[in-house]
Symmetry: C2
Subunit: 326 residues, 2 copies
């Protein structure tokens, strides 16, 4: 059971001194390249982001004995891969803000935005290669394919009926695959046995699923200032997430809900009415309970390892994920 | 000196039976993914393309003793990387035709086009990882960064004065870097010594530079039916290539030429007039002579290797590059 209210800082502690090294490794990737690329990377890396994925990699590798320098390279590669997918994502969605900061495409042409994303992919791949692990490279390439296949599926499924399995497939591709990469690749670098790799693979998967569910809950319950985007933004874009699925299962008669997935849903009154109904129903609590179940399985995966400050931090990180909504 | 008129087929011979295996390896990359991705990859791979880059890799690896299966994986990875860059390129340029076939962006939304390019990048990276060579992965990532940095530089330099060195930098990034990757990575897979790797690196670089110069000449001298795009298309888009540079050096007084690089150059009469002047000047022959110099250096690099059918084919390929304009 999750019982302690945690602050963000707790789980960073064991690897606190390594975060600046990861930041530096990321920023130096634009060295010697076009001045606008340097500016773009700087803008992207300065626009917030809690570096949760690199922290997962750092904690895992530190717990399991990975070479410190290769681990920093891996953590930087993972965050850059994540950053590159966000750049193309925001372009595709036409998003103008992320975490309250202007997106690249809000300021740059589509051409420059596509190429900047490609450049960051290239540098993420270069860093992944610098870990000197073929298996890490393979995991990287596989994760990128999973993410992109998920985005394409979403693009072509837009405004079509969605069910629980589609939702879980989507959040795996979108979010959990990258957490899974962070924990698994760090375990691979640590050269632990298959059993330990599998445990860390499971940990990353489970907390990644929980992370996205909570993100989707925050889209309904968060304040615009905190979330950095308007409330019920997913619903406004016709994106059906777990709170909506839970609500529709319990209230199949709601006329606003029945229109979802049919043609162009957008109507601000309808969106706000449905969002309010969802918030006031049991759908939110049910979604959070499902997120907690994922977290519990993630915590379970960690029990295979002996106690250590890093294991405690990984546990804290998992628990923090479902406490974020408070 | 280049003295024999060659047909396309000659240089394929020693690896003729492997091309279908490379094609199959490329096509199977969409297996299990979204049906529209399968269709897109099929369209892209069916839209022509002479597979020159995979042939360079196959001939090199076959000459130097690379493992046959890893070599096919490498050749497929290289052609997919090339394909992915073309997909984003065409989107950025707004090109509707490539090799006479509709581009992906002519039929699909920008979002779907960006993601399809990303997916093909991901599969190219996966194949590169499957060669099990960290050095090959590193070369791949480096090449992608070079290509993208070149495109960004070009994007931000559009309509600015250009000189010979800028031109050579640009065609290195755009074309020669990928030929260099094909020959170098195949040598790396073959586990030959540094001297042999360096020789194949030089071969790829030199013929890649020649290849793009001849492409740029064909933009002036080719027929629309053969080239698959309107004559003088580069000039029309404000892109200054070697024939134009040669012409401007010899005819600094041409009023049509003096306007190049200043604001929005496009004016169909002006473009056709300048293209005609360039065609009728020595600029084309001079550019072809420069391409031949690159080819000669490429041939020179091959002399370090004993005679073999593959070496002869690599020589034929190099010579064919500068005979294409006939």
């Amino acid at each position: 059971m999750v019982s302690v209210l945690l602050t963000t800082a707790t789980f960073f502690n064991p690897v606190q001194d390594r975060i600046p090294l990861v930041e530096a490794r990321m920023r130096e990737q634009s060295n010697g390249h076009h001045v606008d690329l340097v500016a773009a990377l700087d803008h992207l890396l300065s626009s917030g982001g809690k570096r949760v994925r690199p922290v997962v990699a750092l904690l895992t590798g530190s717990m399991l004995g990975a070479d410190p320098d290769r681990l920093i390279t891996l953590a930087a590669a993972i965050e850059l891969l994540h950053t590159a997918t966000l750049v193309h994502d925001d372009l595709i969605d036409g998003s103008l803000l992320r975490r309250g900061f202007p997106t690249l495409n809000a300021q740059w042409s589509p051409a420059a935005t596509v190429l900047t994303g490609d450049f960051i992919f290239a540098r993420a791949a270069k860093l992944a290669a610098e870990t000197s692990s073929v298996e890490v490279m393979r995991l990287f390439a596989q994760t990128l394919a999973t993410i992109v296949n998920g985005e394409i599926t979403q693009l072509f499924m837009n405004h079509q009926p969605i069910n629980r399995q589609d939702y879980f497939d989507r959040i795996y591709a979108k979010t959990a695959s990258m957490f899974e990469l962070a924990s698994t690749a760090a375990a691979v670098l640590s050269q632990v046995d298959e059993h330990a790799q599998e445990a860390m693979h499971n940990y990353g998967y489970e907390i990644g699923m929980a992370f996205q569910i909570v993100d989707d809950v925050l889209d309904f319950t968060g304040e615009q200032e905190t979330v950095g985007k308007p409330v019920a933004n997913d619903l406004r874009q016709g994106l059906i997430t777990l709170p909506t699925i839970n609500y529709l299962e319990a209230h199949p008669e709601d006329p606003d809900g029945r229109l979802l997935g049919i043609g162009n849903y957008y109507n601000e009154d309808r969106v706000m009415r449905l969002a309010k109904a969802i918030r006031e129903s049991q759908a939110i609590d049910k979604a959070l309970a499902e997120a907690r179940t994922f977290v519990e399985r993630g915590l379970q995966a960690l029990t295979t390892f002996p106690s250590s400050p890093e294991r405690t931090a990984l546990e804290d990180l998992a628990k923090f994920i479902v406490r974020r909504h408070l």
